[in-house]
């Protein structure tokens, strides 16, 4: 199951565009936005199966964007990524409305696994 459409939101453009290229090598249709406003615009025009949001975004923060996405697109599963290390183990508490929180640097196999899990869980109504 690689035929899904994902939207990444991260202001680190070279990182996110490379990730998109790598996912495309694996047959996943991926797109990206570099801030929250651009992401909302894309969501308005395109249909996505999942959205992956970085915690630290310029302007609208990752948490604010998640809140808006949950409100306007309640059936869209959300993954969150962060380079933010807090707590002894570098963990950061998962906000409400997020299926899974992943730490940077991103392991592509783990990312794909979690995206699939989130989509399936959402389809089954577990999220």
């Amino acid at each position: 199951m690689n035929n899904f459409h994902v939207l990444f939101v991260d202001d680190e453009e070279e990182l996110v565009s490379t990730l998109v290229e790598r996912l495309e090598y694996r047959g996943i249709i991926a797109d990206y936005a570099t801030n929250g406003d651009k992401a909302l615009e894309k969501l308005h025009h395109e249909k996505y199966d999942i959205i992956v949001i970085d915690l630290k975004l310029p302007g609208l923060s990752g948490e604010e964007l998640i809140h808006l996405v949950n409100k306007s697109y309640p059936n869209l599963p959300v993954l969150m990524i962060t380079g933010h290390g807090s707590g002894k183990d570098g963990s950061f508490e998962k906000p409400n409305g997020v299926y899974e929180l992943l730490q940077k640097p991103i392991n592509i196999s783990l990312l794909i696994k979690k995206m699939k899990e989130a989509i399936v869980a959402n389809e089954l109504g577990y999220q």
């Binding site: 680190e12 070279e14 790598r22 310029p58 380079g83 592509i108």
Partner: protein, 225 residues
């Protein structure tokens, strides 16, 4: 009694100084993490390309060169950032030093760039017409500029700039921080520690604003040659 006050002041300087270093380090290491993450993904992309090659696809030299260029750009970006952080760390070496104020402020603003961008604000530094050498506590001076910018940042209108202008006025170096505010200046902190730090380096400050602009001015004496 006086020694007690002095001790408390020293403790406050140390505590606040650690906060300043922490804020800069957190922001820079976040960016370094992004750079390393990008290099990691680009290396993965090379691996992906190599895998498709074994499956019969032909990678052109251009594809490989393009990815390699992207890796070089990220390593250069990382090295610049590490160099800037190292320069910043060495400002703690002397309690009083003669230095070019433009070089010091330019380095600080580069390290603060991401903090400002997260608020959708750009930091701009105007180079003075002539070299301005000051003799003061370099770390304290940078901390003052950091605190002054950080104080106005949440009240600055989004998608605008905070402009830092360096100039000379008689026997003073003048640092002006100007920005367009968003009408929420009532949220400005009282800046008590900032004033304390300014008096510590024998500086003078003036703050003013109107309906649109906020202005902060700091004067630091220039030593006689």
């Amino acid at each position: 009694m006086n020694s007690d006050i002095n001790k408390k002041l020293q403790e406050q300087f140390l505590y606040q100084g650690l906060g300043f270093c922490g804020a800069i380090t957190a922001s820079v290491t976040h960016e370094l993490n992004n750079i390393l993450g990008t290099i990691d993904q680009l290396s993965g992309l090379l691996e992906d390309l190599a895998l498709t090659l074994t499956q019969g696809d032909v990678a052109t030299g251009n594809q490989l060169t393009a990815i390699s260029d992207r890796i070089f750009k990220q390593t250069a970006r990382g090295m610049t950032l590490v160099k800037r952080l190292n320069t910043f760390a060495h400002f703690r070496d002397d309690v009083a030093a003669k230095f070019d104020i433009y070089d010091a402020v330019e380095n600080l603003l580069a390290l603060m760039k991401r903090l400002a961008l997260l608020k959708k604000v750009e930091l701009i530094l105007t180079k003075p017409a002539e070299e301005i050498i000051v003799k003061t506590n370099p770390f304290s001076l940078l901390e003052i500029i950091f605190l002054a910018i950080n104080r106005i940042l949440p009240c600055t209108k989004k998608e605008t700039v905070i402009e830092v202008v360096l100039s000379k006025q008689n026997s003073d170096a003048v640092i002006t921080i100007k920005s367009m505010h968003d009408g929420t200046l009532t949220r400005l902190s009282d800046g008590g520690y900032l004033r304390l730090l300014i008096s510590h380096i024998s500086g003078n400050t003036k703050e003013s604003f109107d309906d649109v602009y906020y202005n902060f001015e700091l004067k630091v004496p220039i030593p006689e040659r």
